[in-house]
Amino acid sequence: MAAPLVLVVLVAVTVRAVLYRSSLAAFISERVEVASPLNAWKRVVEGLALLDLGVSPYSGAVFHETPLIIYLFHFLIEYAELVFMITDVLTAVALYLAIQDFNKVVFRKQKLLIELDKYAPDVAELIQTPMEMHYIPLKVALFYLLNPYTVMSCVAKSTCAINNTVIAFFILATIKGNAMKKKNGSLCLSIKSRRSAVIKSGDICLLVFRFQRQFIPVKLKSKSFWLYTMQYAALYLCSLVVIICLSFFLLNSWDFIPSVYGFILSVPDLTPNIGLFWYFFAEMFEHFSLFFVCVFQINVFFYTIPLAIKLKEHPVFFMFVQIAIISIFKSYPTVGDVALYMAFLPVWSHLYRFLRNIFILSCVLIVCSLLFPVLWHLWIYAGSANSNFYYAITLTFNIGQILLVSDYFYAFLRREYYLTHGLHLTRQDGTEAMLVLK
């Protein structure tokens, strides 16, 4: 399967190269949907310029990325376009390999459950066959590389692409890892958490945990469970500490902690973006902003534990839903984050028949993506609209995403139910029943 992947990579790189050389590149890098205060390329350049002048890059509240990015681009600034194209390709390849391994795991598990007679007798059409799963890794890579969101993110040189690469490697390490390779997983995790936001680390910790649990049944009283948890937590904390200290020694100051983590948590910059934070906090009194910041940020990792309890048999789906929730509720989302979880959608293509609203939701997402620039123009350039118009589209876009994730979640659960209880459900008295979400 290497040849189609290489072809897809070539097409993707060509598209990006063509766009880099066209006049659209400047236009795209100015768009707020693609570049947020966290990951805009202009700010990276600004930070590098400050570093060259001998001043801390975090002075002046312009640069909000980790010091690792500064040092990466300190040496690679002339090849920035190439770096971003390579990161996109690496993400796609990592996702490709991860999904390939995941498919093998799924197939093995399915065979095990069939042999153990856990499935109802009439669910033959719901079982996944290797034939239909053969092209899924390629489709995942395709979905990621040729997604207009990813292309725009890459052309705008937003560091979201680098974030996505680290997350993809983390997923790869997790899926490939078993007990032996958990070190890989935790190292990737801590790099990722350093790179992105410490908020996410808490969730991902649990994600990985759930996956590894595959080999260790979850019983709160089981000693091996707690032993494993402790081992993993220790490993994670140690790698986190190592990386924070490394960042400290890179720049010889602790400046980066309030500038990066404080910035993400306290949301001081209210530039409009596709997230939910900016409008609320623009119209809020200072008095209440702390409370509401806490409420909004809790949304990001509030769903971890209930989802973990529900999806403990299905860690990769849990990871998908968690990444989606993070990219919807984080303080400065961009379309690059949306592109990452959308890349996973082909993996659940077998849920297509159970998805209720996929057509309407994809229409909503496409319409909102097209209306973002229109309403931005009407607000900022024409002056005929105001922020309410733009926020309406932001809200609709996020509602569409939330409904999409919950649709997939519901379809997943429905399929699991059908697998264990059979396709033709009957009530107590023998009449046909239907599964309804209440």
Partner: protein
């Protein structure tokens, strides 16, 4: 979430949509058109009202009495214009200087894409002259503009005269908080665009102008004046700007309020107001005014020099004096008093005009229709497309999600079949966009046509070639001859059309509505016939 997750409700609704699809579509289309026509009915449109607090009452005591002086300036200007054969720059500069304004001139030049038909020249050269009246006690942070286009022939002389008289009068007052710029621009829109670009230091069109220009701060509002006669019978206002952008309704309300105060007869679209509203002729009159405004907005052309200000977020209107055969005439003093009142009220503004509506339609000068009232008409037209989309979705994808073993396999290759027609259509669109202008020079070298004819003929040629596309390209579509193939293509086309019409209606409602009214029936009813 009831509709999205409750299966009984969905099933009932989808059955209704599938069964009654054509009647519902026809009903929706008629509802859209009917709603639009009903907008013109006078009692349904609310009266206009002043939203900005700072411009609330019209209690100023206008004391402009220099009507005769305006006429004498006008005659002098006419004489010098005829002598100079264009704009009398030196005389304007001298006169403005003697009035106590800070005078600047801006020479500009612009290469036209097509040569000027009358004089076969490519380059237009002109000069804008403007004088700034500095506010005596303010910091020159904000400004108002009174602009008068300098046209060729005996037009607009009285406007220049009135402007100079107003400048003389304003110069003697002490209550100005904003600077006032008195601008005389040559070559209408070209000069206005050159001045605006130089003032805001941008380069949107390739107008070249020279010299450093005096500035007066951020412009809050602008009025463009056109007067070609010594007396007027009515005063007409034009609001439509470039690309259908409209100024804030408050500016119109201001004009209407001051016309009423001074007893000046004001019109819109050149149509006099009627006092009765419950008769058929009144409805026809109101509908005619509304349709004229819709056509003007849809064309995207500015109806006066003010249209270019709107792009820079400056609210502006054009006022035209009309001299018809009516008996009652108003002299320059009344017109001057109205303008004085307007400028004094604009002087009171604390912030840019933002309180009133930016999206509206005007069936008459005293009634308006806001976006919340006229959008449902457009919504009904798009509903036709949505109904058709759900109908085809019912045919292609299956309304309810019952286990159908063949669906996932069949739908996937179906999507790839859509790519060639999409690519071809987009290629045709790009050709239509780029080729006529790129091929203009080549065409004139090889064919005996003028440049503008070359562009028009190339566009027509690409259109005609496009009409032949289905015959030539249906062989390219592998699975396109099946029922599934064209249904999916039509589904995608309807979605695309609905999206584009929606975006267009937000930017320029009239254009979106007119296009929707014509394209939606054709798109909804189209189906392939003939030999496959």
């Amino acid at each position: 979430m009831g509709l999205l997750s409750d299966p009984q409700c969905r099933r009932a609704l989808s059955r209704l949509v599938l069964r009654l699809n054509t009647p519902l579509c026809a009903l929706s289309y008629l509802a859209g058109l009917g709603w639009f026509l009903a907008l013109a009915f006078p009692p349904l449109a609310p009266r206009t009202y002043m939203s900005e607090n700072a411009m609330g009452s019209t209690m100023v005591e206008e004391q402009f009495l220099l009507g005769e002086r305006a006429l004498s300036y006008a005659r002098e200007f006419a004489g010098h214009k005829k002598k100079a054969g264009g704009m009398p720059v030196a005389w304007l500069e001298k006169t403005m200087w003697s009035l106590g304004l800070e005078v600047h001139k801006q020479p500009f030049a612009r290469t036209l894409p097509f040569p000027d038909e009358a004089r076969e020249r490519y380059m237009v050269k002109g000069t804008n002259v403007y004088g700034i009246l500095r506010a005596p006690r303010a910091a020159s942070t904000e400004a108002l503009v009174l602009s008068v286009p300098c046209s060729e022939g005996p037009h607009n002389n009285q406007a220049v005269g009135l402007m100079l008289a107003l400048a003389a009068y304003f110069r003697g007052q002490i209550y100005w908080a904003k600077d006032i710029i008195f601008l005389v621009n040559e070559h209408d829109l070209l000069g206005m665009e050159a001045w605006l670009e130089a003032y805001h230091d941008v380069n949107l069109t390739e107008v070249r102008s020279s010299g450093t220009l005096g500035r007066a701060g951020a412009i809050q509002a602008a009025v463009s004046l056109e007067l070609s006669s010594d007396v007027v019978t009515s005063f007409d206002v034009a609001v439509e700007g470039l690309n259908g952008q409209l100024p804030n309704l408050d500016l119109l309300n201001l004009f209407h309020a001051f016309c009423q105060k001074n007893g000046l007869l004001c019109t819109i679209q050149g149509k006099l107001p009627r006092s009765d509203w419950d008769s058929l002729p009144a409805y026809a009159h109101s509908l005619q005014t509304l349709l004229l405004m819709v056509l003007a907005q849809a064309s995207g052309q500015p109806r006066g020099d003010h249209g270019l200000f709107l792009r820079y977020r400056i609210e502006a209107v054009t006022l035209r004096g009309i001299n018809s055969f009516r008996q009652y005439k108003y002299d320059m003093t009344t017109v001057g008093k109205t303008l004085e009142g307007m400028f004094r009220k604009l002087n009171n503004l604390l912030e840019r005009l933002h309180q009133s509506y930016f999206f509206y339609l005007l069936p008459s000068l005293s009634r308006f229709i806001s976006i919340g009232v006229y959008m449902p008409a457009f919504g009904f037209l798009i509903l036709v497309l949505v109904l058709k989309i759900s109908f085809w979705m019912g045919g292609v994808g299956g309304g309810e999600r019952e286990p159908h073993p063949s669906f996932p396999q069949e739908a996937r290759p179906g999507l790839l079949v859509l790519v060639p027609p999409l690519l071809i259509c987009h290629a045709a669109g790009l050709a239509l966009y780029f080729l006529p202008v790129l091929g203009q020079r080549v065409a004139t070298q090889h064919f005996p046509v003028s440049e503008s004819e070359a562009v028009v003929l190339t566009v027509i040629a690409i259109y005609v070639a496009g009409m032949a596309l289905p015959h030539n390209t249906h062989r390219v579509l592998a699975g396109g001859s099946s029922d599934r193939g064209w249904m999916t293509l039509k589904l995608l086309a309807l979605l695309y059309l609905a999206l584009q019409l929606g975006c267009l209606a937000l930017l320029n409602f009239s254009l979106g509505f007119l296009l929707a009214a014509t394209m939606v029936p054709a798109a909804a009813a189209a189906r392939p016939t003939g030999p496959k």
